[in-house]
Symmetry: none
Subunit: 120 residues, 4 copies
DNA sequence: GTGGTCTAGACCACT
DNA sequence: GTGGTCTAGACCACA
């Protein structure tokens, strides 16, 4: 299974798909000039409609990250890592602010980070 | 202005309102037994429809956080800080995982936390 | 009727809709800050599915030409006339080249232009 | 290379091939009773599938423009120039109307024509 | 009523 | 088999 979708999230499914694929590319689980799963394959795998995946792919193509090859599928072009980085950091900043507002202490956040990145 | 709404977020407006009010309560900007703004007032202030604010208040009441006082408005009952804490930590954990997936380094996250919480 | 669609064209319906709306804006048949017809209204009027119009509007929004207003509709932001101009001139250039290749004479093209723009 | 194909055009590849061949015939780059490239050759040259070229040739044959010669290939029969002319002029007319709608001035179109046909 | 998303299913162009 | 487009119809969030 390539990845899973949270159907109860407020984030639309097509956005989740876009994000997951961007992650895969950054993590080099798919490399440039490689094909990603076909629209139909991925749709079946994650249990969504073909059109939903198609929309994700179409938007990723508009962002210049993948490109359709007629009759063959979608191929990875490349990704602007700085942009992805900045977007995620901004998202991260918002939730840290929100956590601070909720009087969550710094050490509680650090604990989570250590858990995930490994202590040290 | 009490707070602002991101109308182009994927998070529904009524959810944003609920979250902001919870933050206010935890931060003690509104205390127990105090009134929060009337539906009408808040709706006008943040530029949304009455029904939207009404829905937020209704759900907050169902969660036992506020209570309607006939003819007067809504009064703060109290809040289960542990639950709020856990929810936010969980949200935080997800984005940290996502950041790690994107090969964002630990120190980049720590930098953001220091910025917001104050270094050290 | 706002406009009509050529269902036998190779140009996809959603593209035709986008082009027609761009024309309307340039021609000032709809002005900035005015609403264009709702997705459902336009879909019914030109006899296409709601999703098709929705896609057109979504892409026009991505291009910064219109913007969605929650619960109200889509409002015109503005349009980069130079870009539209350049695109159309480029399209025009291609067909002129093609006409020349087909040994169509210059005066035959000029005749068409005079017909449409008014002679002289 | 005989000609090139725009794979991201909305015009189907088999239509593009047909049009290019018609142009070649009108321009007398291939004359009557001469062979055009074999399906296999042309397919390889422009990088499309055999079936696609085959479809183009089949339709050109139906239009009486070329004819298959068993074991040899396809030979040019002739072309109804008036029909080609009318089709192209009609296509031209549409874009001129569209240009006028976009408030493009007559002189801008004339400039393009002069560029391509040579001034005067 | 408005936009936003999604499903199910279809046909076309192309390899 | 692949992508590209479209229809019909549904549910949600919002004014």
């Amino acid at each position: 299974m390539w990845f899973t979708i949270d159907f109860h999230s407020h984030v639309p499914v097509y956005e989740q798909i876009k994000n997951k694929i961007k992650e895969k590319i950054v993590k080099k689980e798919v490399n440039e000039n490689e094909f990603i799963p076909s629209i139909r394959t991925l749709a079946k795998e994650i249990g969504v409609n073909l059109n939903t995946v198609a929309r994700s792919y179409r938007e990723l193509e508009q962002e210049g990250i993948i490109q359709s090859v007629r009759g063959s599928g979608y191929i990875v072009i490349g990704i602007d890592k700085d942009k992805i980085f900045d977007e995620k950091i901004e998202e991260f900043r918002k939730i840290v602010i929100s956590a601070k507002n909720l009087k969550i202490e710094k050490r509680d956040l650090l604990k989570v980070i250590d858990e995930i990145y490994g202590g040290e």
